[in-house]
Symmetry: C2
Subunit: 171 residues, 2 copies
Amino acid sequence: MTASRTIQIEPLTREAYAPFGQVIETAGAHHYPINGGMTERYHDLAKVELGGVHARPLVSIARGQPYALPLTLNMVERHPLGSQAFYPLSQRPFLSIVAPDEGGIPGLPRAFLAAAGQGINMAMNTWHAVLTPLGETADFLIIDRGGDGNNLEEYFFAEPYLVVATGSILY
Amino acid sequence: MTASRTIQIEPLTREAYAPFGQVIETAGAHHYPINGGMTERYHDLAKVELGGVHARPLVSIARGQPYALPLTLNMVERHPLGSQAFYPLSQRPFLSIVAPDEGGIPGLPRAFLAAAGQGINMAMNTWHAVLTPLGETADFLIIDRGGDGNNLEEYFFAEPYLVVATGSILY
């Protein structure tokens, strides 16, 4: 494993994640009171994209087994017909590993560490790794796309990447 | 307050809730492995309904202040253009108070107590009370409908209902 194949984990922020999708979180979100002031609504936090034929939004739950760090990244995938949101149902951390597209294949991946209360919505056709909880099995609410057509493309790296934590990532 | 205006809280089950929408939960759901077996997907748990013009799914977060029991129910509302899902982001209990439609006005309300891990998706145009966490402030992920048109109808009861717990409801 050469040093150039090593990916340092970085914090998940709206700004850093913008090329790949949205961070779903109350911090910094537009919000307003509803229900006679008893509820605060943090409004419209994800751009749900529904491409192709007979598209409809799906609500599902994913129960993901955990990964340990450092993590070997062999492949990424993307969904050409729809966005895909994951919101954690626990306070446990997880990674969102994504990559820019470079002429139809993934460029250098980036690994974002979600803090408690942060979910993500990956934009349609964004290269990403599989669901990556850290430390413990964790549940996530998923909002993605159902419908006709092939909504999955996979890419296997000729040489794997190593995703590593720097400093003190607690998980 | 006459006895006939008293509503007993009942457990939230798929079968009992079917006239009003879906219970979002892993128990009893269709599921299958993804991500090379590392993740289990509990698939397509809610029927997201998007009526009217320029409709699109919205993902939001609601932070609801708690209610105490017994609870006085003065009004219900409904959304004629879309479904509305609430999934709790904590293990705290909440009530889903809903009512059948009887000729354009709400019939006798029912109050369902969600257990940990249960969310709900209220079908389009279902009469319901406001978000009702019990005991503590609680966050919920919402999936509902954005778009044009008036998506809110309210109904105020001439005489309020009293929602009461029987036996030992812990909250």
